[in-house]
Amino acid sequence: MFDHGGVARAEGLAHDPVTGERAAGGSPAPAPRGGTGAAGLAELAGRVRPTDLARDLRLPVLPALEPLLPGAGLRRGTTVAVAARPGVTGATSLALALAAGASRAGSWVAAVGLGSLGLVAADELGLSLERLVVVADPGRERGGWASVVAALVDGFDVVLVAAGGRLRAPDARRLVARVRERGSVLLAVGGDLPGERSPLRLAVTSSSWQGLGDGWGHLRGRRVAVAVEGRGEAARGRRAELWLPGPDGTVAPVEPVADPIPLRPPGGAAARPAPAEGAGEAG
């Protein structure tokens, strides 16, 4: 449930969650054993000190994305690859949605090398534009990319970087190490960084827009299927269907039981839904 992964603050985790559980469990805390004077006080201080829980080591994500991620959040210090299967679109929206939860919770987000990022879409997917910084063009030199991303990793909780940018494999390796050290999250948009295999990889496997007819309507919502794979805690693959975004503009899970045509109430044609605007639309 908690995580020892190379974050400096993880120190002390080994005992803190235990005391936390004791307190939460309501079991009577054992009296300080013979602790008198300074030793007893020190033990008491350790007991009442705020604990570093596993959730502090993960950045929150939107509720709809929680089931997709181990620990229901983005683990600090990791690199996450966000891509789409060939011929499928949706990687950019998925990356924005992944960053949205942390952004809402107060984290700053930087986008590097994503010159054509749709900022209105970023806002709609839940990112706070107040805490977004865009470095559209990190320069022509190859080393420049690495220095820019490294500098941003120091200050930002989430950094979105174009995976197809001018990064070389040695730079990417150093960046991944730096991200681990600083405890931020690097989202590689478009796939793994060169030469790296991210411990967590999300891919849009199918995407279908709804709401558009034959000369009428407008785009309303999109259903995507997302596959998650990775190493370690993410070794067990996960899949989910999502609205990205849904007709109401939010990112939401597609209910597995939801049927586009609800069961018709006996004898009543009145409850028949209006022809869905996306009816003619195929995935």
Binding site: S116, E124, P138, G139, W209, L212, G215, L219, G280
Partner: protein, 563 residues
């Protein structure tokens, strides 16, 4: 007055400007978050003042040299000054880059009196600076009085009005050095005529709020404040008021600690592998600082003076005493370590010959926590402090701006418009303050409705510039949009050009399965030069992708992709 430490303060005037290497006769100002934090005398003569916005400052002085606030650079430039002062006394405390202090008791006896010590100190510092800035030295009972003695030149009329109480001697050598010695016991009289606003100077003990209230109550000078009964001041203003009252009365801010801090607060860490770079050492320091904060918090204490030491693989050591007017936060400690090591690594002849192997932090003065805790985040060590986060972001942005230029780092701002590219624009982050809320980045910033706005959801990729495209009907003829806003035939296929590639050969042709539009735009019809007639079309392709197309003058473009 046994409870007051007689102190010498060295103050290098306009240090941020001097450290940047700009001659003081050039009008220059140092900006942090778009506000002036320091000026050169030439800029002040033009009317540029602290806290001024950049725009206003440049309006007053168009030839103003604009410098970025660089605490690390200022600290690095200050390191030779501190190193030279170690020849005068071993106990130099750095308050902030540009100012340091030490108790005079021992050195004064050695050098033959306060005046001789002050002159010797000033001469040492002036030699290091080599005429690049003004050195002011003040000696008085108490650090606060000594600081003001250093800052106020001997010609200050407020001081001159009390010649009987204050026998200070100002000396000028070539205009670049000034020393002021307030005789023992003379601090209260020296302070009395000075304005209470001095308490709110940077690094001062009181916030501007306290000073504002005092001024509105008619307490205008430090003498007025000192004349008030202490109990009343504490009753009204609490711990902050107590500290201010003590200072105004010529006392130290708090009683000197009688016992040194316990040894178990001294923390050391081996750096393995030894750090060649300051960043690596600063990261270790941050861990140490967090641990120190935890231990101090456990005993309800906070640190106000701290010894930072480092040792190389060759056993070379470097120690500095840092002092702060508030209490040290882990972030502030890590910053001091970074400054100090940066200065050491650039120290010329005294620079270390091998990598850093060991680092230690030793609190030199601890005080009961509370009252003055400036940034002890309420949620415990792991909690997010928005101000701290904003400053961290600002520092990292400053580095990126240094790499790419100021224009390359941008933040979004809502604007009016119909298309996805028009509704949010990007402005250089240098024109904003990231530590403060930015209403322009909130969606409700644009209130006026924009009829004909492209309906939500917005596309996640907005092509800049738009990609050329070709839209054909079922018979393979180009689709046109007529003057009445109707298509010549339903689009059947669309060819999407890559960046730079024309719509002709090589472009991918995909089948259109659904479409909507056209939505015509007749924009700025009143302005012949900027008049545009366009139409937009949403298409969904057989691959499951969706695009926003625009046609203008018979040519199609992919304006955005619903990626």
């Amino acid at each position: 007055m046994a409870e007051v430490t007689r102190t010498l303060v060295v103050w290098c005037a306009d240090w941020p400007v001097v450290a940047a290497g700009v001659p003081l006769e050039v009008p220059a100002a140092v900006f942090h978050a778009n506000r002036v934090v320091a000026t050169s005398p030439a800029a002040r003569a033009e009317g540029v003042e602290r806290h001024m916005r950049r725009r206003d400052a440049q309006a007053r002085c168009p030839e103003l040299v604009v410098l970025a606030h660089d605490p690390a650079g200022e600290a690095r430039a200050f390191e030779p000054v501190v190193a030279a002062l170690e020849a005068v006394t071993p106990r130099v405390e750095i308050t902030h880059p540009g100012a340091c202090a030490f108790p005079t008791r021992g050195p004064s006896r050695y050098h033959g009196g306060d005046e001789a010590l002050a002159e010797r100190t000033a001469a040492v510092v002036a030699e290091v600076l080599g005429g690049r800035g003004f050195v002011r030295v003040g000696v008085a009972d108490g650090r606060f009085a000594a600081t003001l003695a250093a800052r106020h030149r001997s010609g200050n009329p407020a001081v001159a009005r009390h010649p009987a109480a204050w026998r200070g001697r100002g000396r000028e050598a070539g205009g670049s050095v000034a020393t002021t010695v307030v005789p023992p016991g003379g601090s209260p009289a020296f302070l009395a005529p000075l304005p209470v606003r001095e308490l709110a100077e940077p690094g001062g003990p009181a916030g501007p709020e306290l000073v504002d209230v005092l001024e509105r109550l008619g307490v205008r000078t430090l003498g007025d404040l000192a004349a008030l009964p202490l109990a009343e001041v504490v009753g009204r203003f609490g711990a902050e008021g107590r500290a201010a009252h003590r200072l105004a009365s010529g006392l130290d801010e708090r009683l000197p600690a009688t016992a040194p801090p316990p040894d178990d607060l001294t923390l050391a860490a081996e750096i393995d592998p030894p750090a060649e770079r300051v960043e690596a050492a600063a990261f270790v320091a941050r861990g140490l600082a967090d641990e120190l904060q935890r231990r101090l918090a456990d005993r309800g204490s906070a640190c106000t003076r701290l010894v930072v030491g480092a040792e190389t693989e060759h056993g070379e050591t470097h120690e500095r005493v840092w002092r702060t007017e508030g209490t040290f936060t882990p972030l502030a400690i890590a910053e001091r370590v970074r400054w100090q090591l940066d200065g050491w690594l650039h120290a010329g002849a005294h620079r270390p010959t091998r990598a850093l192997a060991r680092l230690w932090l030793a609190p030199d003065e601890i005080v009961p926590a509370g009252g003055r805790q400036l940034a002890f985040s309420a949620g415990g060590p792991g909690a997010v402090d928005p101000v701290e986060v904003g400053e961290r972001v600002a520092r990292s942005l400053a580095r990126v701006q240094g790499l790419l230029g100021v224009e390359a780092v941008r933040v979004p701002e809502w604007r009016g418009g119909r298309g996805p590219a028009e509704r949010v624009g990007l402005v250089p982050v240098a024109t904003t303050d990231v530590t403060e809320p930015r209403p322009a980045a909130r969606r409700d910033h644009v209130r006026a409705p924009w009829p004909g706005v492209v309906p939500d959801p917005a596309p996640a990729t907005v092509h800049d510039p738009p990609l050329p495209a070709e839209v054909l009907d079922a018979a393979g003829r180009p689709v046109r949009v007529g003057g009445r806003g109707e298509v010549s035939a339903p689009p059947a296929t669309v060819a999407l050009g890559g960046p730079g590639a024309g719509p002709a050969a090589g472009a991918r042709r995909v089948e259109v399965v659904a479409w909507a539009g056209p939505w015509p735009y007749d924009e700025r019809w009143w302005d012949p030069g900027r008049h545009r007639r366009r139409a937009r079309l949403q298409v969904a392709t057989a691959e499951g992708a969706a695009h926003l197309l625009a046609v203008e003058g018979g040519r199609w473009w992919v304006e955005a992709t619903y990626d």
